[in-house]
């Protein structure tokens, strides 16, 4: 009888086809077992060429499922040997014991290497996570990791065994004593998530928000930190202080105060309408005489050089003092007539 794979019904493989497939699988498994049987363990490296220092977790009990264990292994390999880096354990690898997964998995590995003239030191930071539990406390182990070292002269490869570390895994609850659905006592504190990063971020964002609001306040406040700060006379005072004590500087200073007076009045202010200005802005009433003096000075500086002006100080000092008084007035303060110009 001729067997035709293509003529067989598609919904039910023929018995002959099944026989063929089973035969193939059996042959493959026999070949694989024979290959495995051929793998021989490598010889151990001579201990005089290798030094191993390990830093294990400080406790060896009380671990529950999900916990992590950090282990640091420092291996110093003397020449002519070197570490075969491909033999380092890989993340996700899980050891077996008698064909069964042991429930401890490598989740992170960090390596550092320091070369010396006669040796090489490798520092391995290993992090394992427990994925097993039981009804009672049970034994678990960080299995011995087997690395390979190569003799650079003979090209022979040897194995290097990192010692194992035993510990105990505890159950999350004691079997038979705690039933979670019955133990809803209000005295049991809730399980809390670690919110420290969120708290830190919240604080940082809060500070950022506070600075942003301050900036916004500064912008809406016409670039002044306090109300009535940064007014026309405050700015003029700062400008006039920087002006030189020359004829041009004096003209600039007088013009600068004119500019501020006009801005405060809302129109061009002249000697003839000082009374109207003071009536409209009573805060400036205490300095109305000084405003008149200022216009006399302006008249001399800009229009009538022969005119005489009576001032107690030099024009620059007097202008500074006058501008400061105007600044006080614009801030709603009572100007101090005795103050120094540069105070």
């Amino acid at each position: 009888m001729k067997i035709s794979l293509f003529n067989a019904p598609t919904h039910q493989p023929s018995t002959a086809l099944l026989h063929v497939m089973r035969g193939l699988m059996l042959a493959l498994s026999l070949h694989f077992s024979a290959a495995m049987a051929d793998v021989k363990p490598l010889p151990d490296v001579d201990p005089k060429f290798v030094t191993i220092t390990e830093t294990n977790p400080t406790r060896d009990a009380g671990y529950v499922v999900g916990d992590t264990l950090d282990r640091t292994v420092v291996i110093t390999i003397r020449k002519p040997y070197e570490l075969v880096k491909e033999s380092l354990p890989i993340v996700g690898y899980e050891h077996r014991w008698k064909g069964q997964l042991i429930g401890v998995e490598l989740v992170d590995i960090k390596t550092e290497e320091k070369q010396k003239s006669d040796s090489t030191t490798h520092k391995l930071d290993l992090r394992y996570q427990v994925f097993t539990t039981g009804r009672t406390v049970k034994h678990a182990s960080l299995k011995a990791e087997i690395l390979q070292v190569r003799n650079l002269q003979t090209k022979e490869v040897f194995q290097l065994r990192i010692p194992f570390f035993d510990f105990r895994v505890s159950p999350l609850s004691i079997f038979g004593q705690v039933k979670l659905n019955e133990d809803m006592s209000p005295f049991v504190p809730p399980l809390l998530l670690n919110a420290a990063p969120e708290h830190r971020n919240l604080k940082l964002l809060g500070i950022l928000l506070a600075f942003s609001l301050l900036g916004l306040l500064y912008i809406f406040g016409a670039y002044a930190w306090l109300p009535k700060m940064g007014g026309p006379f405050a700015k003029a005072y700062r400008d006039i202080r920087k002006m030189p004590e020359t004829a041009e500087g004096l003209q600039s200073a007088v013009a600068r105060i004119h500019q501020s007076l006009n801005r405060t009045a809302g129109n061009s202010l002249f000697a003839s309408n000082i009374k109207e200005f003071v009536a409209a802005k009573p805060a400036f009433a205490p300095v109305s005489n000084q405003i008149q003096q200022f216009f006399d000075l302006s008249k001399q500086v800009f229009f009538e050089p022969d005119a005489t002006v009576q001032l107690d100080d030099s024009p620059k000092d007097w202008l500074l003092k006058f501008c400061r008084q105007l600044r006080d007035c614009e801030r709603g303060l009572r100007p101090d007539n005795k103050q120094k110009a540069n105070a």
Binding site: V254, H258, N262, S268, F270, S272, K299, F302, E304, P305
Partner: protein
């Protein structure tokens, strides 16, 4: 020498002003402006309602200045030759020609008073404009000069029937247009009504001493005054800004209520007009005992010297007095000095 002259003339000017203020009460500002125009050698146009004292005011000044004074009434049938001559039949039965008001005083004519100028025809305005500008007139095959003449004219803006509006070119020849309004002070108003001294205008005007000023020296003194009062660079810059603002007020943010500013001004102040502003401002500075012009001097004369020179769109001409005043106030308010 010039300082003494300036001081002496100032005393005379203030005396004249004071005497006129005694006769025409409640008009200090117009009286100051007329005094200013006399020394700035500019013609004056008075504008105001009927019976507010325009004629009395001008007559009082005329008496104080001295010199020849002539007057003519503007009427619809007035012709230019009426200003130059008039004809009549003499006692001998023959026709005679005699000099008209312009020629009667010859070179000594100091004040030519044209009452109700807007009632005269444009032909008359035309003749008057030439006389005002050149101070000469050709008549009877001869050139007549009026070196000391000032024209004082008045007009009634309210009455429009049988009147001829004075064109802008003619208005520009007047240094000032001065509004005369009824005083608002109760005491002055009561005095004007009940005080009998105001009943007879001739007697009232006669209270002003004659010849307080020497009319024939006013031209020379006027020139001296203009040369003595200085204008600083800062003031020149300020005046230029004011001038530009009369031409393009929108550039300076000037606004007048109910007016489309883009359409308002057809022509701003003329160079002659701004020159007259400075002439008047120098006199104002001198009257205030100063040696240089200040922005305040410009403000004191700006309305009177510029408002009547502005040419507005026809749609706004009916409100020109009010609009011009608000616009010029806006210009003063908007432009800073320095």
């Amino acid at each position: 020498m010039s300082d003494t002259q300036l001081t002496d003339w100032r005393e005379h000017a203030l005396t004249l002003e004071s005497e006129v203020n005694k006769v025409v009460v409640g008009q200090q500002s117009p009286i100051r402006l007329i005094t200013t125009s006399i020394f700035a050698r500019g013609h004056v146009l008075l504008e105001g309602d009927v019976g507010v004292g325009k004629t009395t005011l001008l007559r009082a000044f005329t008496r104080g200045i001295g010199g020849g004074y002539q007057r003519i009434e503007g009427t619809i049938d007035l012709m230019p030759n009426d200003l130059v001559y008039h004809t009549y039949l003499g006692e001998d039965g023959k026709p005679h020609v005699s000099a008209g008001p312009l020629l009667q005083s010859g070179e000594n004519l100091s004040i030519f008073f044209f009452n109700e100028i807007n009632r005269a025809r444009p032909q008359v305005h035309s003749l008057l404009l030439r006389v005002m500008a050149e101070r000469t007139l050709t008549a009877f095959n001869k050139e007549h000069h009026f070196p000391h003449m000032l024209v004082f004219a008045d007009r009634n803006q309210v009455e429009k029937e049988e009147t001829f509006d004075i064109p802008s070119a003619a208005r520009d020849r007047f240094m000032m247009e001065i509004p005369i309004v009824v005083p608002n002070d109760d005491l002055i108003m009561e005095d004007l009504v009940f005080n009998t001294r105001f009943h007879d205008v001739d007697t009232l005007v006669a209270n002003v001493p004659e010849n307080i000023l020497q009319f024939d020296q006013l031209n020379a003194f006027g020139a001296l005054l203009q040369n003595s009062i200085t204008a600083s660079p800062a003031l020149r810059s300020y005046v230029l800004k004011l001038w530009r603002a009369t031409k393009t007020p929108t550039d300076y943010g000037i606004k007048v209520s109910g007016v489309d500013m883009k359409r308002l001004v057809l022509s701003g102040a003329s160079p002659r007009g701004m020159g007259m502003v400075l002439r008047a401002a120098r006199v104002n500075a001198w009257l205030n005992n100063r040696t240089a012009v200040l922005p305040e001097d410009i403000h004191d004369v700006l309305h009177a010297t510029v408002a009547h020179r502005l040419v507005f769109s026809p749609v706004y001409e009916m409100r020109r007095t009010e609009i011009a005043r608000e616009m010029l106030s806006g210009i003063i308010s908007a432009i800073a000095a320095p």
